[in-house]
């Protein structure tokens, strides 16, 4: 921990005490959506398409409807009565159950609610579907060819957000592309003045989030006057809005409740299980639980595989001048969050470097595979893989040290990323120098080789805009007569430590210990509105709303006391639920009951935050904060087997101010290990439209054994964040640099360049063979 702030000691900020959710989670008492059990609750299962692409000629569910224990069967016949039975973020293209076609292996065709899952499964087996198979689209580069099959024949129903300077978006710009994001700044002729122009292509593999708590919800539409939904969901208010639109309901008749979430990593944004469960519950008149298996999770949401083509113009001294890029994202069969991911991958592709000219086009390409959506890093992972690999390649081509090349071109502290953007809020060189020191990068020339095993080191800087786009946040802080604090806001606890960090902020402002705060359960009927727990926005965006809410409550308390004590509020301080005036201490509880009667009172403060809209900013509003993940790796490459051993992995993020050090460390290290797995082995493997490793046994996620022998992280506290006490968001940054740092280290070790993930022994051997073949 490198604390660079000189703030006075505080009650709560920076303390490595137990997380707010520690006791519940280590004792098995924490409640998750999987634990919700309502009287009379039925269980849902769905029938999935065995075809990657097919027209549905007929569905016969009559036998299933007549089976014992079956209470509702949902097919396209039933969804026809639902006002708008499709969903999605920008583009409403995913049906609740398939209507005319199925578009991937795993597409939902029918659903059953029964007394138990076994009865539901038996009913599904009795549903007959007559398919007319169609050609599949699985290749990103040929998906827009005139003879490629088309996933959607009709024009998309969707919107393009209002972009600012240089940015634009388009729906369906070409065949099988649901969205294109483009960005352009600087003079078009900038390449003409470059000494060198380098063009390279990078391929990025696709992971599944592998959140341990499955996609799950419990839906209750057994009453006429409204629906209740418990769901493992990152953005309950967005889901409420979608549910209202789909079913034609008033939003104040939909209660969405989110207990603890057992992991999400982006996957649990937007509708997943909810529309099916609600439709079944309405048909059955009973509550319905719909819990996917882990295998079904692979068929529900994934990361985006990608092809990234970079063209970069530089001067011979290593000065970057111009960057053009074309990015193809494999968005799968439905758009889900893909337009937003395209926007972010396209926007982030230039990395944290200064260019005179940037032009980017990023395409969301539809294929007959599982829908891709938000995944930790959100387009930034793809962008960083390509960007940080190419910077290294260019440096080596020019004979410049890759570290010096970065140093030369990094954006300065306070310098806007691009015109109209907010300034860089981390000293990028400070972080890079930290990696260089921790890794011993300067001594890499002296790394010993061990026979056929060669060693090398690599660096990378992951980069993304953090805090979401144009995102408002609202929080409410209530303080009871006895000084008990109720914190109400819509940030859900996915494991990232939001309860802990946000409670610490509220407590600090109220002169209380964090233990006095209860983070209130999330229910859209009572929680303040929130757009969603994503984009590392918890502390940097919601944190500012919580901070203001707590300060508003504090102000009310001080003004109340000032009135009672006959002095100015400015003379008073609040600590330990006493009013301090000089060396006098006045307990608040008796003062409150003296004024309001024996039942007492609650002080209520509200806080709002939103970055201002700006047409000068390319993405509606200037970025809230810049999320940076610096990384370095030392590898040992066995030139006989191709095996890459990551001996050292060092990552560091900038928390601005670490509200809770253990939470910050957990975010960086958890993200880094996800990046490590993606670098070396973790990937979804498709054979055509068929996923061949979509289960826990054959899909390899990292285990404790996979950690490098030397794996370390440091949470920097550079102090420039916009959040409370100078905090910045965490959670995604440290995933971003890992794969390229390892690829760069492999290059350093054995002089080969791998441009496709994962960095498998087969690819290493093939590249070594190619290098040795003149």
């Amino acid at each position: 921990m490198t604390a660079t702030t000189n703030d006075p000691p505080t009650r709560n900020i920076g303390r490595a005490d137990r997380r707010a959710d520690a006791r519940e989670k280590v004792s098995g008492q924490g409640v998750y959506t999987v634990d919700i059990d309502l009287p009379g609750m039925l269980h849902a299962r769905v029938l999935r398409s065995p075809h990657g692409h097919a027209r549905i000629r007929a569905i016969d569910a009559s036998a299933a409807r007549a089976m014992p224990g079956v209470h509702a069967v949902l097919t396209r016949d039933e969804t026809a009565a639902i006002p708008m039975p499709v969903y999605g973020y920008f583009i409403k293209d995913q049906p609740i159950v398939a209507t005319d076609k199925v578009r991937y292996e795993g597409d939902i065709v029918a659903a059953v609610a029964a007394e138990d899952e076994g009865a539901a499964n038996r009913a599904l087996a009795a549903i007959r579907v007559d398919y007319e198979p169609l050609p599949v689209v699985t290749d990103l580069e040929s998906a827009s060819d005139p003879d490629a099959a088309e996933l959607f024949e009709d024009a998309p129903v969707g919107i393009v957000p209002k972009y600012g300077a240089g940015a634009s978006g388009a729906l369906r710009p070409r065949r099988n592309v649901c969205y294109r994001f483009s960005y352009e700044t600087g003079p078009a002729d900038a390449f003409a003045e470059c000494d060198h122009v380098f063009e390279d292509v990078f391929r990025f593999s696709r992971m599944h989030h592998f959140h341990l708590e499955p996609f799950v919800c419990v839906a209750d539409w057994s009453r006429e006057d409204g629906v209740a939904l418990w769901t493992s969901c990152q953005n309950p208010f967005a889901v409420r809005k979608e549910i209202a639109r789909i079913f034609g309901l008033a939003e104040n008749r939909i209660s969405v409740r989110v207990p603890y979430i057992g992991g999400a990593f982006g996957s649990k944004n937007g509708c997943k299980t909810e529309p099916v469960a609600l439709a079944l519950s309405r048909l059955a008149g009973r509550p319905v639980r719909f819990c996917l298996t882990l295998e079904e999770g692979f068929l529900t949401n994934t990361q985006h595989a990608a092809i990234l083509k970079l063209k970069t113009g530089v001067m011979r001294d290593g000065t970057l001048v111009a960057r053009e890029s074309e990015i193809l994202l494999d968005s799968g069969a439905y758009s889900d969050g893909s337009p937003l991911v395209a926007e972010k991958a396209g926007y982030r592709i230039s990395g944290p470097y200064r260019y005179r000219r940037i032009k980017t086009d990023c395409y969301s390409v539809m294929t007959n595979t599982a829908p891709a959506g938000p995944f930790r890093g959100f387009g930034g992972t793809q962008a960083s893989w390509a960007c940080e690999s190419q910077i290294d390649m260019i440096a080596r081509r020019l004979g410049i040290d890759p570290c010096e090349m970065r140093h030369k071109n990094l954006i300065d502290l306070g310098e806007p990323f691009v015109p109209g953007e907010s300034g860089m809020d981390s000293d990028l060189r400070e972080g890079l120098d930290l990696v260089v020191r921790e890794l011993g990068y300067r001594r890499r020339g002296a790394l010993p080789d061990d026979g056929a095993v060669k060693r090398g080191m690599g660096l990378a800087i992951g980069f993304k805009d953090g805090g979401g786009i144009n995102k408002p946040a609202l929080a409410r802080v209530k303080v009871s007569t006895n000084g008990d604090i109720f914190l109400q806001c819509g940030t859900v606890e996915i494991g990232q430590g939001a309860h802990t960090a946000l409670s610490a902020v509220a407590a600090e402002r109220l002169g209380a210990d964090r233990a006095r705060v209860r983070y209130m359960p999330i229910d859209t009927d009572h929680s303040p509105f929130d757009q969603g727990t994503n984009a590392s926005s918890g502390i940097a965006v919601m944190g500012q709303a919580v901070d203001r809410a707590a300060l508003a409550a504090r102000r009310q308390i001080l003004e109340f006391a000032a009135g009672t004590l006959g002095c100015a509020a400015e003379e008073l301080d609040l600590a330990g639920w006493e009013i301090r005036r000089g060396n006098e201490a006045h307990p608040l509880a008796p003062m409150i009951m003296d004024r309001f009667g024996g039942t007492g009172w609650e002080f209520v403060g509200e806080g709002f935050h939103k970055a201002p809209n700006s047409p000068a900013a390319p993405l509606e509003s200037p970025c809230v904060f810049w999320e940076i993940g610096w990384g370095g790796a030392q590898v040992a490459v066995d030139t006989e087997t191709g095996k890459v051993t990551v001996e050292t992995l060092f990552v560091t993020g900038d928390a601005g101010r670490a509200i809770h050090p253990l939470v910050c460390r957990g975010q960086d290290e958890g993200a880094a290990v996800m990046g490590l797995a993606q670098a070396l082995f973790e990937r979804m493997i498709y054979d055509g439209s068929r996923l061949v490793n979509g289960d826990a046994l054959t899909y390899r996620v990292p285990l404790a054994d996979d950690l490098p022998a030397d794996f370390r992280s440091v949470t920097q506290e550079q102090g420039h964040g916009p959040g409370p006490f100078g905090a910045k968001g965490m959670g995604e940054g440290a995933m971003l640099p890992v794969a390229s740092a390892i690829a760069n280290a492999i290059h350093d070790a054995v002089g080969i360049r791998l441009t496709e993930l994962p960095l498998t022994p087969e690819r290493v051997l093939a590249a070594l063979a190619a290098k040795d073949t003149p």
């Binding site: 137990r18 997380r19 959710d21 520690a22 006791r23 519940e24 989670k25 280590v26 004792s27 098995g28 008492q29 924490g30 409640v31 998750y32 999987v34 634990d35 014992p68 224990g69 138990d116 076994g118 009865a119 989030h209 592998f210 959140h211 341990l212 708590e213 499955p214 603890y260 979430i261 057992g262 992991g263 999400a264 990593f265 298996t293 882990l294 996915i494 494991g495 990232q496 430590g497 253990l662 939470v663 460390r665 957990g666 290290e669 958890g670 993200a671 880094a672 290990v673 996800m674 289960d695 826990a696 046994l697 996620v701 990292p702 285990l703 404790a704 054994d705 950690l707 794996f711």
Partner: protein
């Protein structure tokens, strides 16, 4: 129909030190049996293929994936779940070490990880780092990157040894 394929029977075993007599079926897994109880939802199901270890429970002291053990297999056995670790509200040393080291994030793997660590430390009160890493590698945590979990197990071993002194 389900009844004929899946006959009911009476099962006796010990759960967290207390005798349990329960009517169940031959096809019921231990994890499902536990989760049907009001006090049994701390045992979490994730992959349900005995890979991830989220549903780890102790059967006669050995860690087993509750998703892949039939209930009838525990007849006469001592079963320990996460609900059985605290004593009079006091966390076990392993639980306390997980809490203090933030060796969890979303918490979904935590019960299984804690029971795995309990089993390790019951067998080897002073495991070296390689042994801890080897044992913890039988379960999956998707959030933490494992570092805090490995540290918590070492910390728990120290706490247990100190408590035994």
């Amino acid at each position: 129909m389900a009844e004929r394929l899946d006959p009911r029977f009476d099962l006796s075993f010990t759960l967290n030190g207390a005798p349990v007599e329960v009517a169940t079926t031959t096809a019921t897994t231990l994890a499902d049996l536990l989760r049907e109880r009001r006090d049994g939802r701390g045992t979490k199901l994730a992959c349900e293929r005995a890979v991830c270890g989220a549903c780890t429970v102790l059967i006669d002291g050995l860690p087993r994936a509750g998703c892949s053990v039939f209930a009838f297999e525990v007849a006469g056995c001592e079963v320990v779940t996460v609900e059985g670790l605290a004593t009079d509200g006091a966390l076990s040393p392993v639980q306390a070490a997980f809490a203090d080291n933030a060796a969890f994030q979303c918490g979904f793997c935590t019960a299984g990880m804690i029971l795995l660590a309990e089993a390790l430390l019951a067998r080897d009160p002073d495991p070296d780092e390689a042994t801890i890493r080897d044992w913890i590698s039988s379960n999956i945590c998707r959030c933490t990157g494992y570092g805090p979990i490995l540290e918590a197990v070492g910390d728990a071993a120290r706490r247990r040894r100190e408590a035994a002194r």
